[in-house]
Symmetry: C2
Subunit: 116 residues, 2 copies
């Protein structure tokens, strides 16, 4: 790459005019599935707990079905689980992201040659 | 659409790690070509003149070739022109946007059925 130009793209799911689900929700949910708590997911993601909690709280409120559910008691003394609906949403977004990333890669073909 | 969910996407051209050219540059340049001045383009776009000027100034500084050039004197008493390089950039971005929009439209196929 001579010019160092590249096309960068992003997708998000909107509900009506409002942002519902974007890349940050996707990576947070994947970490909550892996870690079992919002706190630990936030640490792994490198964002404040409050920010993660607000993102998840708004997501739950906008969703037709709860996405992250509190798990009371048990040996682990609580934590969070991602519902089946939430896991489906993660898979759907992942698939969309996969097709999308391929397009963005294609868009980058010959870009430097065009711009420089 | 029952759930009213839709995927929204955006692309931008980066130079290294820095944003170079995005949708707002694209629409501003098209308006400058049409109107012949940043001032009139900003009015049509509904943004303050200063914001438009800063966007164009930064774009010119980052570009390997000037994009918007001041046109001195003449019957119209000055104004701005978009260079050939700038016009090419507009065309390149427009073509990329066209492929991109088709992908985003495809990504929206069945989305409501998946999420609701």
């Amino acid at each position: 790459m001579v010019g160092g130009f590249k096309i960068v793209g992003a997708i998000a799911i909107y509900k009506g005019e409002e942002l519902f689900f974007s890349g940050i929700h996707y990576s947070l949910l994947k970490l909550i599935i892996q870690e079992g708590s919002i706190n630990s997911a936030a640490k792994h993601k490198g964002i404040p707990y409050n920010q993660a909690w607000n993102l998840i709280d708004k997501l739950n409120k906008m969703s037709p079905v709860p996405i992250v559910v509190r798990q009371k008691g048990g040996v682990s003394g609580g934590g969070c689980q991602v519902s089946e609906y939430g896991r489906d949403l993660v898979k759907i977004f992942e698939n969309k992201l996969y097709s999308f990333d391929k397009t963005v890669m294609d868009l980058n073909e010959d870009l430097d040659a065009c711009i420089m």
